[in-house]
């Protein structure tokens, strides 16, 4: 098997160009889907039989919680590829993921807290789900802090990649925490092998929103990775020629 496409993809000038042409597609598609899902979720979807209109915060909470874990897995895989194949672009991609993932995690925690106060009767509890999601936020922040503490980018790449790999264990723990231990947080409604425990009329906008968030991630990571490439390659010849 020929690996030329792979090595071509990993070359900074090539990746910089591809990401530049992909970003607007991701951006506009994500904006369109998120607007559609917002309208569908807030207006068209029916109110819940128990929670009334309060359940609609789910359309922000569940997609951001999903994305917080998805982003971490992408970051850990990129870090692992960077370590094994010594690909700088993979390390750059992992670095580009971290602030995006941290934002999704914060959004999931904040919206969950806002929902929890009226529905559960508390802003926060130390149950397994909430605690492991908070740990995810600290992993992202720790990863970013570790990167920032090195002057040499290569050492920063390697040290932070190990942290990213160690932390990936937390992702299945977050997901299965509601099944393994008794928690205040309810078990999964959608990501299980059984039929979803959420009515189809409410599920469609949720899927649209998740798709919108995925595309947003594509947009944000393309833009951030381009910035990361510019910063790392600021002395390279191809950039001087381009400028």
């Amino acid at each position: 098997m020929s690996w030329t496409w792979f090595h071509k993809l990993a070359s900074p000038p090539h990746a910089y160009r591809i990401l530049g042409s992909l970003a607007p597609w991701f951006g506009w598609a994500s904006l369109a889907l998120i607007l559609l899902a917002t309208w569908w979720g807030l207006v068209k979807a029916p109110a819940d039989y128990q929670q009334g209109d309060g359940f609609r915060i789910l359309y922000v909470h569940a997609p951001s919680a999903w994305m917080s874990m998805f982003t971490y897995v992408v970051m850990a895989v990129a870090a692992g590829v960077g370590l094994i194949w010594r690909i700088k672009l993979a390390h750059a991609a992992a670095a580009a993921c971290a602030p995006i993932g941290a934002s999704f995690t914060f959004l999931a925690l904040a919206t969950g807290s806002i929902w929890g106060k009226p529905m559960w009767g508390t802003w926060w509890v130390w149950d397994a789900r909430l605690t492991s999601e908070l740990l995810l936020l600290f992993l992202y922040l720790g990863y970013m802090a570790l990167r920032a503490s090195f002057d040499d980018p290569q050492r920063a790449d390697r040290a932070s990649a190990v942290l990213a790999l160690v932390g990936v264990i937390n992702v299945p723990i977050i997901h299965y925490s509601v099944n393994w231990w008794s928690t205040l947080h309810q078990p999964a409604s959608v990501t299980k092998f059984d039929k979803p425990s959420i009515d189809l009329a409410m599920l469609i906008p949720l899927f649209l929103m998740i798709a919108g968030f995925q595309l947003y991630f594509g947009w944000a990571v393309s833009r951030r990775l381009r910035g990361e490439i510019l910063r790392r390659e600021r002395n390279a010849n191809w950039l001087k020629e381009a400028a």
């Binding site: 039989y49 692992g80 559960w120 397994a128 264990i169 008794s182 928690t183 205040l184 425990s197 409410m202």
Partner: protein, 149 residues
């Protein structure tokens, strides 16, 4: 082994090692990770009596009673096997209702559980009211048979 394969083994070993260590650690702390005890566990004496604990279960249908002229409510928590009577003084959360899961924090006082805090536990079901209404006869039937056994 090429250097690349060595690095590959290292990466796999890091993830596997941390995974195994975490599994053992979580196994060891399993009891402490439980957010609440069920009424059955309370009856079996698994919950410590000396300190504040949480008990989770369903509010038994028809058991909710308010003391006139006060904030005090009493209800019965059940897991369809055992029951724990609870008394609580304070504001109940929105989702608190009979047949719904709740978690009460407090301590046992004889046979009665005196709660300092009551949280509603939401289940994973989301549906519009019409769907819930059409399901209700089935659910009630299921609850009454489960409750009587």
């Amino acid at each position: 082994m090429t250097p690349r394969q060595k690095r590959m083994v290292t990466v796999v070993a890091i993830v596997a090692g941390v995974g195994i260590a975490t599994t053992f650690a979580l196994q060891a702390f399993n009891q402490n990770l439980l957010y609440y005890y069920s009424p059955t566990q309370v009856h079996a004496g698994e919950a410590p009596a000396s300190r504040s604990i949480r008990v989770g279960g369903l509010v038994e249908n028809g058991s909710l009673a308010r003391k006139p002229g006060s904030m005090e409510v009493t209800f019965v928590l059940t897991d369809y096997a055992q029951k724990v009577p609870v008394s609580y003084t304070g504001v109940l959360p929105d989702l608190f209702r009979e047949g719904q899961g709740v978690i009460a924090r407090g301590r046992m006082d004889g046979d009665r559980f005196v709660a300092e805090e009551v949280l509603a536990k939401h289940d994973e079901n989301y549906m519009p009211p019409e769907v819930a209404d059409s399901l209700k006869p089935h659910l009630d039937a299921a609850n009454s048979t489960a409750g009587s056994t």
